[in-house]
Symmetry: C2
Subunit: 226 residues, 2 copies
DNA sequence: TCCATAATGTAATCTTCCAGACATTTGCCT
DNA sequence: AGGCAAATGTCTGGAAGATTACATTATGGA
């Protein structure tokens, strides 16, 4: 990928607005670009090779795997978001990987140490980055505390609402979602069984409130679901 | 509180190891010290007044309250930890407060804007701070993903194990915990009903595996609980 | 010391949703 | 086109644990 394109990508990310052009050019040099297709997995966690990723196009899921092998979808990353070793510290038992959800993704990455050097030279960038991580913390806390006090149905509604806010397209009163998730994946996100999720979608479908397909989800009236 | 004592407190926190003495002295000036007693509440969230706290002594809980008024214990903060507006960004719907659990706590705090200025002058500090928040993020993720795949019993065991690791005192094979939590609070942490928690403790008590009182919890054999 | 209040103990229902066990459909690959 | 795997649809019992409803016991403050 040409330096020009790299430049454009980085220049367009909010986080790097505080850098001047020459700094961004510098950043280009340490940056690695990559394309990946649906289903591909991205591993991170090996201390040495740990990298920070910036997702330029597409969506992917962050999956955490515990000792028993349970897979748990921690977060859905969308266009423009950072992910990877935000935490930097090498530690522990839990393993995490990312998997591509959309047909293809474009992402770029820096090694953690390069990124750290950049931060130490640009305090303003360091603060922006700090805020970003803090925001992520808040998001995770929020989405989890949702899960505990809501029934499976409420959790699914909350998930759809969130999704609609993030990426929904409004078509004459309807919200339309590009569906790159299977019902199984949705259940993993909202922590319920696959069957329960299916049941809920079908109930809504029969009431004419929603239209589910593998390509898209159309919601006629978000508020009426409850 | 004298500047000297402030100095000692700050100098001893890992986060500030990267600062030199004169910088720590500077930090002392913007620092506010406070004592609080059991049950007292600390609010943060008002954008203007938001502060970052460093807990010097004691324990407290961070409680998140959602729109329905459900109270959810997000985290237990112990000696030496930072809490408060780690996220810096003022946002949204969810409200969070801290409540003192031990007889008394000692804490110091800075206004967010002062702290930000400090960060911008000390990029290394900013990086340390980022790692800290990242670590917190990891902890939250971990404790949550625990919750979803475990039964109430397993969750309680995991909680006790974690507690034992953090603050347990070993007495001739037994682990002894200073109990500043009620069973109700424990249930809030592990997300089960108060009655279920009570039942579990009593079962263990009858099997002679544990000894619960309001002052202390003594565990004879952590592994045998399962 | 006594009392009000909070914390703990116990039991009987009742709801939710998970876990199988299939059938059916969809969509991709060759 | 045809076949195969993955995704979806549907039904069942059963278990975990919430909820309700009290009884009992501690504890801190007046």
């Amino acid at each position: 990928m040409s330096e020009d394109v790299k430049f454009w990508h980085l220049r367009n990310h909010q986080l790097f607005w505080v850098l001047n052009n020459s700094q961004v050019r510098q950043l280009c040099i340490i940056t690695n670009f990559k394309r990946a297709k649906k289903g591909e997995m991205i591993n991170f966690g090996e201390k040495e090779s740990s990298r920070i990723y910036l997702l330029k196009k597409g969506n992917l899921k962050l999956v955490q795997v515990d000792e028993q092998g349970n897979e748990f979808i921690v977060d859905i990353i969308q266009q423009g978001e950072l992910f990877g070793s935000l935490n930097v510290e090498g530690d522990d038992s839990s393993y995490e990987y990312a998997q591509v959800l959309t047909d293809r993704v474009v992402l770029c990455s820096f090694g953690v140490s390069d990124f750290e050097r950049l931060l130490s030279e640009n305090p303003t960038l360091a603060i922006s980055y700090t805020k970003l991580v803090g925001f992520r913390l808040k998001r995770v806390k929020n989405s989890y505390s949702n899960l505990f006090f809501k029934s499976a149905k409420e959790r699914l509604i909350a998930f759809l609402k969130d999704w609609a806010n993030r990426e929904g397209k409004i078509n004459e009163n309807q919200v339309c979602l590009d569906n790159f998730l299977t019902q199984k994946e949705i259940s993993q996100i909202i922590c319920s069984s696959r069957q329960t999720t299916t049941q809920l979608f079908n109930d809504w479908e029969q009431q004419g409130l929603i239209s589910y397909s593998r390509k898209e989800i159309r919601i006629n009236n978000l508020k009426a679901l409850g």
